[in-house]
């Protein structure tokens, strides 16, 4: 499936906004992304397997922070990061 990568993480994907990754669950997809783009997962998910604050992931158009979210019949995962700050 295709994955939309936010600009702060595109340094990992060679500047690509859209990449392909696979997995039955969101956790599997993030592992696949990390295999392809080493280091990208830890910047989105902490060592306790929690999606970091201000990171948002949409699966089938719905926001989730649960890594066990099923990706069954999902064609697109959108990763967003708030650009709030100063």
């Amino acid at each position: 499936m295709r994955v939309l990568i936010p600009t702060p993480l595109q340094s990992y994907t060679g500047g690509r906004r859209l990449v392909a990754a696979h997995g039955d669950r969101l956790a599997d997809l993030l592992d696949d992304l990390d295999q392809q783009y080493p280091g990208i997962r830890f910047r989105m998910v902490n060592e306790q397997d929690q999606v970091r604050p201000h990171m948002t992931i949409y699966v089938r158009g719905e926001r989730t922070r649960q890594l066990d979210t099923s990706l069954h019949e999902c064609e697109e995962v959108v990763i967003l990061q708030a650009l709030s700050g100063g």
């Binding site: 702060p8 993480l9 080493p38 280091g39 830890f42 910047r43 989105m44 998910v45 902490n46 060592e47 306790q48 397997d49 929690q50 970091r52 604050p53 201000h54 990171m55 990061q81 708030a82 650009l83 709030s84 700050g85």
Partner: protein
């Protein structure tokens, strides 16, 4: 001609200042990691082309970057500092940011140490590619007693800093917790003992008898987060000598003694001895520099009366002299705990990075100052390279 380089870690990226004419003219490279929070960037004295940088980027997780070519190209750590995953159902610790980097002992190429927030000690044996927690401290049963609550009072989170390695013994280290005191190990981190005797806290001063308004329920303790060393330095010429700029004063300790002496009592009373940073002369154990700040009222943390100055001692803190030639008559900035660097030249050069994004240099051992960079983001750390 002498080449000099300064690594300037800022809230908005890493900046490198270069001088190729003996510290007269300085040029600023284009920023590296623009927009990333760089807490500390340090070159490896054992292999000077290697630089490590501790980064946290907006809302992204913390990491460590490594360059093997003087900052031209960078690779990210494969395993940045991170706590172990907690057992199901319990709340696990999460590294917010890596705050401090120290190259290992000269006889241990590839070894680096790091301090983080929440307070934890990390070690790498492969030049910063992978990092492991030092269990003797991070997983000690008294960890919560020894360290400051992550939600505690230190702005931007409590930090482990000032990781100091005895050049005579790679197993002998010190570090400091802000707050939490100074700690020492003689077995490479398996066991740690506090080294806080003589240090005042905001609640009590061991040099002063209790008075009627001394809290009786919160007495001075040899361990505990009420101790707040801001910056500790080990003298490179005599590693038995330590200087400390504490939240509550300036201290000196000469081992094997274990009681700190408050040498800041000899500072002018209208200036006081509060500050973040202390720097040491590389070849004179009695010369040190501090940059005092206003610790009154709500703690503005700017120079007392807005008159920036460095204070120098040449007699191990028995007396202090004000040095402000070249610094602005009035200025309202702070030099943070990693914001002073000292080079190895003769005469010694001293460098200050300010929260207002200016770098000030003295190439005459602190006697006079000039600005060598301005309009940078808030400066967190300055290191010579």
């Amino acid at each position: 001609m002498q080449q000099n380089r300064l690594l300037i870690a800022t809230r908005k990226g890493l900046f490198i200042l270069n001088s190729e004419d003996g510290r007269t003219r300085w040029s600023l490279d284009e920023p590296v990691f623009l927009g990333h929070i760089i807490q500390h960037a340090v070159a490896d004295p054992r292999r000077p082309s290697t630089i490590l940088a501790a980064a946290k980027t907006g809302h992204l997780g913390p990491t460590v970057f490594r360059s093997l070519d003087n900052g031209k190209t960078w690779q990210e750590a494969q395993q940045p500092p991170a706590f172990a995953k907690a057992n199901d159902g319990s709340t696990g610790r999460v590294v917010d940011h890596t705050f401090w980097l120290t190259p290992g002992h000269p006889r241990e190429p590839g070894v680096w140490w790091a301090g983080s927030s929440p307070q934890a000690l990390w070690r790498s044996e492969d030049e910063g590619r992978s990092w492991q927690g030092v269990r003797g401290f991070n997983d000690h049963p008294d960890y919560a007693l020894r360290t400051e609550d992550p939600q505690g009072g230190t702005p931007d989170g409590p930090v482990l800093h000032s990781i100091l390695i005895d050049p005579r013994d790679a197993d002998h280290l010190y570090f400091a917790l802000s707050g939490g005191g100074v700690w020492e190990t003689r077995d490479r981190g398996e066991n740690w003992t506090p080294l806080n005797e003589g240090m005042a806290t905001v609640l009590a001063d061991p040099d002063t008898p209790p008075s009627a308004d001394t809290p009786t329920s919160l007495t001075w303790q040899p361990i505990g987060s009420s101790h707040d060393p801001h910056c500790v330095q080990l003298h490179p010429l005599n590693p038995d000598i330590l200087y400390q700029q504490n939240h509550c004063g300036i201290y000196r300790l000469e081992r094997p003694a274990s009681r700190w002496t408050r040498i800041g009592r000899n500072m002018p009373t209208d200036v006081g001895d509060i500050g973040f940073v202390v720097g040491l002369h590389p070849r004179d154990t009695s010369t040190a520099w501090v940059f005092p700040m206003d610790g009154t009222d709500v703690w503005p943390r700017t120079s007392p009366d807005g008159r920036p100055a460095i204070y120098t001692t040449h007699d191990a803190g028995q007396s202090w002299q004000r040095r402000d030639q070249g610094l602005p008559e009035r200025g309202w900035f702070t030099v943070k705990r990693q914001g002073m660097a000292v080079d190895q030249h003769d005469p010694v050069g001293i460098y200050l990075g300010t929260t207002s994004g200016e770098v000030w240099a003295s190439t005459d051992t602190g006697e006079s100052w000039r600005q060598i960079a301005a309009h940078l983001p808030e400066i967190y750390a300055v290191e010579t390279a």
